[in-house]
């Protein structure tokens, strides 16, 4: 795709800038629409109407909120560690832009087909944790620090089952390229042969994105707002955007690894991809509005006692089966 853009615009740098602008535009609109969707969806679960006032079906509610956040004063509390405090929202949000460019949206619609895309993706996504820790540490607030500590512990713990559930797919396709993995699922999606890995991946991914029932870094009833307690205005909005963008990333990864990427009957490939991604996002929203939150120690023991052994077992089984076939 970058290649095509270069042909149209005539300059590779210009093409790159256009691609980044396109991704940022997509992420902004996506986050706003997801916030609207979450509100509507939660409202339906809770026998409410949700936003109805602004625009058809309240669609412009997020635009109004956006306007409010943009026009708010950028408040920096006196007691914060300024460099870390200011850097944190940027560090949390920027990896998402890089990650978005890795996904094959359809057979012909790929920004760039890296042969190590999967490793790159898992590596870059962890930069977010640094940003979250900077936010908690730089805020110089006990609630924020507790949230940051929880977040780092949780992300590192759930990273392990997440990666362990991805490796069987890599073994099966003998490729780290997301394009190759998608292409290998033209007959059947891998969820049929790797249901356990898919389940572990979904649980770990929910934890990675700090979504309920694993939202303990934010845990508003315990830690007020967790690591972003001291943030307001557009800086807070960046954290918020990052959360929804990360949902897209993990759901897109799940769609590529387990649901067959762009493969599907009748409809065009990119549409199938989007249906899978947003279907998974709705599933994650469903979790959030159904379950209460786990306690911190229960969350950790769930990762180490249940998920890690299960994913290792699944990996071993996969190795044995691949060897036999």
């Amino acid at each position: 795709m970058v290649h095509n853009l270069t042909q149209i615009l005539g300059n590779p740098l210009l093409a790159l800038a256009a691609a980044i602008a396109a991704i940022m535009g997509y992420l902004t609109v996506n986050a706003m629409m997801l916030i609207w969707l979450e509100r509507k969806f939660s409202a339906r679960i809770q026998r409410r109407l949700g936003p109805t006032e602004h625009g058809p079906f309240g669609l412009l509610q997020s635009v109004a909120d956006m306007g409010k956040l943009l026009s708010k004063e950028l408040l920096t509390p006196d007691h914060v560690h300024k460099p870390l405090y200011l850097l944190a929202p940027v560090l949390v949000f920027s990896p998402v832009i890089a990650l978005c460019s890795l996904f094959p949206i359809s057979e012909s619609w790929v920004f760039h087909d890296f042969n190590i895309a999967l490793v790159l993706l898992l590596a870059i996504s962890n930069v977010t944790i640094v940003g979250i820790f900077f936010a908690g540490w730089g805020s110089n607030n006990k609630y924020a620090l507790l949230g940051a500590v929880r977040s780092v512990a949780q992300n590192i713990s759930y990273e392990i089952p997440l990666i362990l559930s991805v490796i069987p797919i890599v073994l099966m396709t003998r490729s780290l390229s997301l394009y190759q993995i998608s292409a290998a699922q033209d007959v059947f999606p891998f969820i049929l042969v790797q249901p356990l890995a898919a389940l572990i991946f979904l649980i770990a991914a929910t934890a990675e994105t700090n979504r309920a029932p694993f939202d303990i870094p934010e845990a508003e009833s315990e830690l007020i707002a967790g690591f972003h307690t001291e943030y307001s205005g557009m800086r807070f909005a960046l954290f918020f955007f990052a959360e929804y963008s990360n949902m897209v990333i993990v759901c897109a990864l799940a769609a590529v690894l387990f649901l067959g990427g762009w493969h599907g009957p009748l409809l065009p490939g990119w549409l199938w991809f989007m249906i899978k991604v947003y279907g998974l996002i709705i599933l994650m929203m469903w979790f959030r509005w159904t379950f209460p939150r786990l306690r911190f120690d229960q969350l950790m023991s769930f990762a180490w006692i249940v998920l890690v052994p299960l994913s290792i077992l699944n990996l071993l089984l996969t190795i044995v089966v691949i060897k036999l076939i």
């Binding site: 939660s42 006990k142 609630y143 845990a219 009833s221 379950f291 911190f296 229960q298």
Partner: protein, 374 residues
Amino acid sequence: MQNSIEVVAEDRDTYYMNMGPQHPSTHGVLRLKLHLEGETILSAEPFIGYGHRAHEKMAENRDYLQFLPNTSRVDYLSGMIYNLAYCQAVEKMMAIEVPERAEYIRIIAAELNRISSHLLWMGTFLLDLGGITPFLYGFDDREKILDILDSITGSRLTYCYGRFGGVTMDVDEIFVAKTAEFCEYFRGRLDDFQRLVIGNVIFQERTKGVGVFDPELIQHYALSGPCLRAMGFARDVRKDEPYGIYERFDFEVQLGQRGDCFDRSTVRMGEMQQSLDIIEQALKELPDGPIMAAKVPKRIRPPEGDHHFAVESARGRFQHYIVSDGSDIPVRHKLSTPSFVNISTMPQVMPGTMLADAVAILGSIDIVVPEIDR
């Protein structure tokens, strides 16, 4: 009794954290001073008084009828019970006979109020545990109760429905029909809550074995209400020292076993069921007749001496202790509230648990901060 875990090695860092007075889960303006090591609580100290409105002092400066509107503001979530309790306390002092119909209406109104209070507890408790949806479900059903009570009292939260000798307004067939309809509807909803909330695995993980009350606490703190019953002690003022006409009704005292957050939850869920039973019996037997006593003295001048009256509020044993010198203004009016007792146990219950448990324990004992402060 162990007050805090002070055995901390010298090389380990501990810190203090103020939870409140502005915090999402302290249910108002309560401050907890927590001594933490990591996320483990070493000691907890509640600070109260942020919502102090001097109800007791106000009672000493006005006559008995003038204090009546204050009563439902003490605990705004079960205001009806508190309001009627004051009426009953004064009636007991003055030996006023209340007509049958008024007694039945009082029972219905008080039990409806108890259900609405427990529903709000369920919502906020789950909110503390991170489940947002039950809160909305609880409020949805609570709204129906508020509408019913609104139709007879004219207010939704701070009722002033009782009068010395009866109630202000009579109920009609519409009220009876709507209440009966609600009872039938709410039984189904309670089953849903039982299944969706109490049956939830994460809910059980979060509440079982958390915040266990030591039986020794009862002697030291005079615990009452669902917190006491969750420990397996069948104490309920409605059964033990029946006031009004509670002895005519057939209901069971709900009991737990261990006295943890889970037992307190199941006890309250069961109490909603029992309240429905009481309401349905009262609706069936509701007699005709007047709603006010024929002869109520214009000026309330109780005989000289100490007077005491206790009721079972949604949170536990609520007592009026009134000292009268024979004039129409009380010398002392003590309101003994259950939330005050429950919050006082926190320094004993919280040490050793985690920060998230502290929130769960606070939610499970169902405190109303203005009731603590009065």
